[in-house]
């Protein structure tokens, strides 16, 4: 929900998302696609340097991952597609053009469903197409006063997918939710790592206002340079307010590109419509057009994993989990895989969910680890949980053992055995402790018998303390009730 007060204006927002693909090599040469941390310009060859005479060759994996995304977003895949050259001069663009797609992209016309504030929203996807990333520039000082800039072409030619959304979003909160859901889908299908801070996932937004109820679109502003969910939300909220104020005062907006300044928390004009680039698109003559066969499309479709929304619904129905738990357990593929492995080992789904989202998630959060990377794998956790189910260990002891195993990597079930922490279910042994507790807590006993239910807790606690948490709570309760009969009870 928007934080903006009720207004006669309606926001119209569409996002353009760029995602680097998780291919091994670059889009048109065999250099590595994973360029992070390499010495400047070391991950280059004549092709991605744009040396005279070099020619691009299509990386089939880039096509496949784009098709995968397009199908996950319900797009149509035309049979015929081609690459085009987008021509402009900039020092991070070694060829003076970017190989991209113009009028015949790999896919068209899909949609993405997402939730915001408990509502389900469907936003259209205009197209998903494929292009190459640029290099990076390192300015000496700030860009406006630097005397030189250094060019690093390690990133040049990395496969970059552009997902153009329809202007179907009506608030910054919707835009944020759309982006989060899209990111989740991209991670699920293994095409992108979702890292906005490092720029492997980037987002530009188009935003305009129109009177509520109007059909025609207002003057559009494009916002760039938002590199976190938070900045997408903040920038759109800022821009919404700015545009509303201009319109409320009877002013006119101009079509322009504005950049989000994280430092100043505002958008700053970068380029007016008159200064808009002339890209002189034309078909890339170095790459023959592509014919995508139906068989190829069906093969990619068959290889699609279960998507987050479907998995969440399945977790609710198959494992009888509450919506909130299903949502959390399907947030990332790693979470749901871990859960399903634990359940597959014979643990009751509800118990597995409670422990994964409770104690284990807490430990992971503290250690800043995803659950699949922690030292307690699904099998050791399943063993421990089955011990709880079999009354071989109490929940309290299991919590401590889990924490210990998380630290040391030891097997939790083995810890229970080796440290003698198994649950005590011997009625005789417990009866001795119960009697001792009654003797030492005579007031609690009489209070309980006088009708104070809470007094029973103190007695159970005393037994547990005596047993170091190992006494079977059911038997303790049973014995206490026998020892302390209530009138008429």
């Amino acid at each position: 929900m928007s934080t903006i007060a009720p207004s006669p204006w309606e926001a119209v927002i569409g996002l353009e998302v760029h995602a680097q693909l998780l291919t091994r090599s670059k889009m048109f040469c065999s250099c590595r696609a994973d360029y992070l941390g390499l010495p400047p310009n070391s991950n280059t060859c004549p092709v991605c340097l744009g040396l005279p005479g070099s020619l691009p060759v299509i990386n089939e994996a880039g096509i496949r991952l784009t098709l995968r995304t397009a199908l996950a977003l319900n797009c149509e895949i035309p049979q015929f597609t081609k690459f085009d050259r987008k021509n402009y001069f900039y020092p991070d663009l070694p060829k003076g053009y970017q190989i991209s797609q113009y009028d015949l992209p790999l896919s068209l016309g899909g949609w993405l469903d997402f939730e915001v504030g408990g509502r389900s929203v469907r936003a259209g996807i205009t197209r998903v197409h494929l292009e190459e990333d640029t290099g990076t520039l390192h300015h000496a000082g700030e860009i406006h006063n630097s005397t030189f800039s250094l060019v690093d072409l390690n990133r040049a030619g990395v496969p970059l997918m552009e997902i153009v959304g329809e202007p179907d979003l009506r608030s910054p909160a919707e835009a944020r939710a759309y982006l989060a859901t899209l990111r989740q889908v991209l991670i699920y299908i293994g095409v992108n790592d979702g890292n906005m801070e490092e720029g492997s996932l980037r987002c530009d937004a188009n935003i305009s206002l129109r009177p509520v109820g109007a059909e025609a679109l207002g003057v559009k502003v494009e916002i760039k340079n938002m590199n976190s969910f938070r900045s997408v939300l903040r920038a759109l909220e800022y821009e919404l307010t700015r545009q509303r104020e201009v319109l409320d005062e009877g002013g006119r907006l101009s079509q322009e590109t504005r950049g989000w300044s994280e430092l100043e928390q505002r958008t700053v004009s970068q380029r007016s419509k008159e200064e808009a680039q002339e890209y002189r698109y034309f078909p890339e003559p170095d790459l023959p057009p592509l014919v995508i066969s139906r068989a190829q499309v069906e093969e990619v479709r068959a290889g699609l994993p279960e998507l987050p929304a479907a998995r969440r619904a399945r977790f609710q129905s198959q494992y009888r989990l509450a919506d909130e738990q299903a949502l959390l357990l399907t947030a990332r593929p790693g979470d749901s895989q871990y859960f399903e492995e634990v359940v597959a080992l014979g643990v009751t789904p509800q118990l597995a969910a409670n422990w994964q989202l409770g104690d284990l998630q807490g430990l992971c959060n503290t250690a800043n680890l995803p659950v699949e990377k922690c030292r307690v794998g699904p099998a050791p956790l399943a063993d421990l949980l089955k011990m709880i189910e079999g009354h071989e260990v109490t929940a309290n002891v299991a919590k401590e053992v889990l924490a210990q195993a998380f630290e040391t990597g030891e097997d939790p079930a083995e810890l229970v055995r080796s440290q003698g922490l198994g649950q005590v279910s011997d009625t005789g042994e417990i009866a001795v402790m119960v009697d001792q507790a009654l003797a030492q807590n005579a007031k609690a006993a009489s209070d309980y018998q006088a009708g104070n239910d809470r007094a029973l807790g103190a007695l159970v606690g005393a037994v547990m303390k005596m047993s170091q948490g190992r006494a079977n709570a059911d038997i303790v309760n049973q014995l206490l009730h026998t020892r302390l009969p209530r009138p008429g009870g």
Binding site: P46, L51, G53, L55, I58, P91, G96, Y97
Partner: protein
């Protein structure tokens, strides 16, 4: 008499029988270049060390396995300066690439090197292969060895002259609108423009990517066929290269023309042919008919639009292909520029010659929004029609013959002031590039002492037929071994 006058097969025999060594052959070629090239201007740079090193290696190979060594082993070659050669400066005849030393070689260079050829150096050409006379080279003039006051033709002028003056056995050029066939005709040598996709363009500094093809220039048709056989074939580094057999170039070379149907496009005779050129063409027709070929008139009705379409499509691609020459990594740079825009303007204004700037401007305009449909798109439609014309013609005939150019070599400076007159030089050659088909220019005769070529056009991947026709004419005309005056050192 120089060794360089011998065809490749004869040289190959002499190399294998140890009559001569590859080093001796290389030394002779280098000596000739030193003596004759100051006048001719074919070479931009000669690489004696590389040549002698390769020749020594070739000699070892020839000694160890004379029968198994490739036919091109030890043969001196040279490359047009648009072909990248690892470690050897490659400028495309442009100031903006002065000092550019490629860290890699073109596929054609790799393939020939693997066969043991001896690389003599890099050959002059019009800047980025844009021109028909070599007068657009940023570095030097190349003179026609038949008349030093005349042009060599272009843009592969250096490649044609190096063969004509017997400085190299064979050279590689590139043909975008006639840039191999035209200088071959003007200089009296064989020049092959292969089918688009026949030869890898990897490492060819692009002029117009959808039109460019690398091809050989040679003294004889067989020499050209030998070299094309060696460089043709699909290349994983060039997605526009095609898989197709190459054995017919040599296999069918001497199959003759008996019964072959040869088309004569009537529109090609209406372009203002020089009378001397027309006479040579008519003589060629008689010779081929005498050998049993059947000639007939064909029509290529879109010929008059092809030139205009070409001068939209080629410049459009140029404007994009040359964008990488932005002064950041190549060229004289932009000292003193205060903004990025100024830096680009300065680097490109100083780095490019007038003709290149003209074509970049033309192409930029043709691709701009609002003009794209009227120019680029319409030109592409014309291109499709041109290809359809050829398809229809090749349904009736096996090959098409015509003069290679409306005139023989013109005088230096004669057309430099009039770009349109210069562009018209290519009117008979560039339709083949638009259609992507194969073609050869073969020496057919002389007009006022200047060589005149016959153009043989074959269908898509129809080089074998072109070679057959050209070989028949070469055998019949018996002029291939005539030496131009400037091939002989002054006494």
């Amino acid at each position: 008499m120089t060794l360089l006058e011998e065809p490749i097969r004869e040289l190959g025999r002499r190399l294998r029988e140890r009559e001569i060594s590859a080093v001796e052959l290389a030394e002779e070629a280098l000596a000739r270049a030193k003596e004759l090239d100051p006048t001719l201007g074919a070479f931009l740079r000669v690489t004696p060390e590389l040549a002698l090193e390769a020749a020594a290696v070739a000699d070892l190979r020839l000694q160890e396995d004379p029968a198994g060594a490739p036919i091109l082993c030890g043969i001196p070659v040279a490359y047009k300066d648009v072909v990248c050669t690892e470690g050897v400066e490659t400028t495309a005849g442009s100031q903006i690439l002065r000092g550019f030393v490629p860290p890699y070689s073109a596929t054609v260079v790799d393939r020939l090197s693997a066969l043991g050829v001896v690389p003599l150096g890099k050959l002059n050409c019009d800047e980025f292969a844009m021109g028909s006379s070599n007068e657009n080279s940023a570095y030097q003039l190349t003179r026609n060895p038949w008349d030093p006051e005349r042009v060599a033709g272009g843009s592969s002028g250096g490649s044609a002259v190096a063969v004509a003056a017997r400085l190299a056995c064979v050279t590689l050029g590139s043909d975008t609108g006639g840039s191999i066939r035209l200088p071959a005709s003007f200089s009296g040598v064989v020049g092959v423009k292969p089918t688009y996709g026949r030869v890898s363009r990897y490492g060819l500094i692009a002029f117009a990517s959808s039109l460019d093809q690398i091809g050989p220039l040679a003294k004889t048709v067989e020499d050209a066929a030998l070299v094309l056989t060696a460089i043709a074939g699909q290349d994983p580094r060039d997605s526009t290269s095609v898989v197709a057999p190459v054995d017919g170039f040599l296999g069918e070379l001497r199959a003759g023309v008996k019964g072959l149907r040869l088309g004569i496009p009537k529109e090609y005779l209406e372009v203002g042919l020089d009378p001397g050129v027309r006479a040579v063409f008519e003589q060629s027709i008689r010779m081929l008919e005498g050998l049993g070929a059947v000639t007939q008139e064909v029509s290529l009705p879109t010929t008059e639009y092809a030139l205009s379409a070409y001068y939209v499509i080629a410049p459009a691609e140029v404007s994009s292909n040359l964008a990488r020459m932005d002064g950041v990594r190549f060229g004289p740079g932009f000292a003193g520029a205060t903004t990025l825009k100024e830096a680009y303007e300065q680097a490109r204004h100083e780095g490019f010659g007038e003709e290149v700037r003209r074509r970049v401007t033309l192409g930029t305009y043709a691709l701009s929004s609002g003009y794209y449909d009227a120019y680029y798109l319409r030109a592409q439609k014309v291109r499709t029609l041109v290809a359809q014309d050829f398809d229809l013609a090749f349904a009736q005939v096996d090959a098409i013959i015509s003069p290679t150019a409306p005139t023989a070599a013109f005088r230096l400076g004669e057309r430099t002031a009039d770009p349109l007159a210069m562009y018209a030089t290519d009117v008979l050659t560039l339709p083949a590039n638009l259609a992507g088909i194969s073609g050869i220019s073969v020496p057919a005769g002389f007009a006022a002492g200047l060589p005149v070529g016959l153009q043989v056009l074959g269908p898509y991947l129809g080089e074998s037929t072109c070679f057959r026709v050209a070989q028949s004419l070469e055998t019949e005309a018996r002029i291939w071994d005539r030496l131009p005056p400037l091939a002989v050192a002054p006494a």
